[in-house]
């Protein structure tokens, strides 16, 4: 495939702007500028590509571009912040699918030449297909289309056998001079199934890690297909994302104290939740008592969870915080690294509600403070405050660092019902002496608390 110097230089410039754009995302001040630069670079890359030598099929190509871009643009504009993780997952899956389709088309045309190119094409196709079907499953789960964790009997064995067959088939395709289309199609189908069955059993707190991992996968797939096409923009952008995504995935897995291997192969499904029996009973309290407890406290730490996000209660929570602060209470927010369904998701939701950054603390920054706090208000969070993770070796979440909400003088848990959290693990915190349950949707409950606090003057 021939190209010319101008187009190649344009691709190099685009790659440089992408890297600078990502770099700008290390600070909230420059982040927005960074993405806008990268956006213009993407437009430039697309326009330049139209002048690539020997191109045809323009009409159909432009229809495909406009259709894909407008569907995604429209859905991205209207999605609620709460539902952002599944949108990120599905867009990512589309990138993986595109990378896999590039490989498939190159094989169909018989244009993959040489062992290295064939190996990278196959590898990119495998990773891209896994990212595509895996992301579709992740989307379905987060969107609530797929409710239950789905686990095949002998799941691990099935995974390994399927992966082995896929790899062997891949090797056969690499070593063949002119691989048969039948084998190639079977290879793609197996790769897609592999992505789906690996992702299907994963849920709960593991979801952010999986989304991040699939994002890194798509980056790698794009980079590998970039080699097949001899396109520097694809190689650089893909590999940069692959590497940064891998780092992000590691950081998150570390935050949960679970190796990535365990997240994939021994997911928390709730089935293994027998653990130690928890003694005691859950005690209820009303909104009035909760309001009084916080209004006359000197220090309150709020632990927001996905339940708050789903109820859309972040604005009400901030309104309550402002009222309490006017009454002289010191209020801060404690965020677990995997709160929400995407790394840092909770920060985005609180930013949306206008909570200033200096009130928001990470687990390490705030964990020691709970012991000197009058009230820990847990809103729709469950697994991230479960003390079982510290004590019960048989629990599937054992070893995961948690927010020490149980060490506060009083704990108030806002929760819709008595059920367990996303992981399905029973929460020992709810049965503790210093804990009271405040049942109801976070939106309504916090609204009631606000009116009671107001009436206390």
């Amino acid at each position: 495939m021939h190209s010319n110097l101008f187009i190649d230089l344009a691709y190099v410039a685009v790659a440089v702007v992408f890297i600078l754009g990502l770099k700008a995302m290390s600070s909230p001040v420059t982040a927005r500028k960074g993405i806008v630069w990268a956006g213009w670079a993407m437009v430039a890359a697309t326009l330049v590509t139209l002048f690539f030598p020997g191109m045809q099929n323009f009409a159909l190509m432009i229809v495909a571009m406009l259709a894909g871009a407008s569907v995604a643009w429209w859905s991205g504009k209207k999605v609620a912040m709460t539902d952002m993780p599944q949108m990120v997952a599905i867009y990512n899956g589309m990138g993986g699918g595109a990378a896999a389709a590039i490989a498939l088309l190159e094989f169909t045309k018989g244009e993959v030449h040489g062992m290295v190119a064939a190996a990278l094409a196959v590898l990119g196709a495998l990773i891209g297909s896994v990212a595509f079907s895996g992301s579709c499953i992740a989307f379905a789960k987060l969107q609530g289309i797929m409710k239950k964790a789905f686990r095949l009997p002998k799941q691990d064995a099935v995974n390994i056998v399927l992966a082995a067959i896929t790899v062997i088939l891949g090797l056969a395709i690499i070593s063949a001079d002119h691989p048969g289309m039948g084998w190639i199609v079977v290879f793609f189908i197996l790769s897609l199934i592999l992505g789906a069955i690996i992702t299907a059993p994963i849920g709960g707190a593991d979801m952010p890690v999986v989304i991040s991992l699939l994002n890194a996968f798509t980056g790698l797939a794009v980079g590998f297909e970039g080699y097949v096409l001899k396109n520097p923009a694809l190689i650089v952008a893909g590999i940069v994302v692959g590497a940064s995504g891998t780092l992000l995935t590691q950081l998150m897995a570390k935050a949960m104290n679970r190796p990535i291997r365990n997240i994939i192969f021994t997911p928390i499904t709730g089935e293994a939740a027998e653990g130690e029996a928890i003694e005691g009973t859950m005690r209820e309290m009303g909104a009035l008592d909760a309001a009084a407890t916080m209004r006359y406290a000197s220090r309150v730490i709020i632990v927001p969870g996905y339940g708050m996000a789903v109820a859309g209660a972040q604005h009400k929570v901030w309104e309550m915080t402002e009222l309490l602060e006017e009454a002289g209470v010191e209020v801060s927010f404690a965020i677990h690294p995997v709160a929400g369904r995407m790394p840092g998701h909770m920060n985005v939701l609180l930013a949306e509600a206008g909570v200033p950054y200096d009130k928001i603390f990470d687990l390490e920054e705030i964990n020691a403070d709970f012991a000197q706090t009058d009230v820990a208000l847990v809103i729709g969070a469950n697994d991230v405050v479960n003390p079982t993770a510290r004590t019960d070796k048989s629990s599937p979440i054992y070893g995961m660092p948690i927010l020490n909400a149980d060490e506060a003088q009083n704990v108030i848990v806002v929760k819709r019902g008595k059920g367990t959290g996303y992981s399905g693990v029973e929460n020992a915190l709810f049965y503790k002496e210093n804990c009271r349950m405040l049942y109801g949707s976070a939106q309504e409950v916090i609204g009631d608390v606000i009116s009671h606090v107001k009436s206390m003057g």
Binding site: M1, F18, M55, M65, A69, M87, Y91, P232
Partner: protein, 99 residues
């Protein structure tokens, strides 16, 4: 020789990716992930190239190419919109009750 040059590109790009994000604060992890998601939307360029060189008389090739371009465009556009929306909320001016 050419292969080695590409190997350099791979290795250096990997280091760059690692370095570029290693100091990103936790509060920006979500926009960063969505932003890097947008960046790999450059796969659109590759999809355009392969589709542009597909045989116009082969419906199979055109269909696969169409699929690739459609997905690539959706990845790029969706990734951009979502990231931009999230970062807009991290603006430094505090119009909505921030301190």
């Amino acid at each position: 020789m050419e292969g080695i040059v590409y190997l350099y590109v791979f290795v250096l790009a990997a280091f760059t990716g690692y370095e570029v994000i290693s100091r990103v604060p936790v509060i920006l992890h979500t926009p960063l992930m969505s932003g890097s998601n947008f960046i790999h939307g450059v796969v659109l360029v590759g999809a355009m190239v392969v589709m542009g060189h597909a045989d116009p008389d082969s419906p199979v090739q055109l269909a696969i190419g169409f699929f690739a371009v459609f997905l690539g465009a959706a990845n790029a556009a969706g990734g951009y919109v979502v990231t931009e929306r999230m970062l807009a909320m991290f603006k430094s001016d505090k119009k909505k009750g921030g301190a």
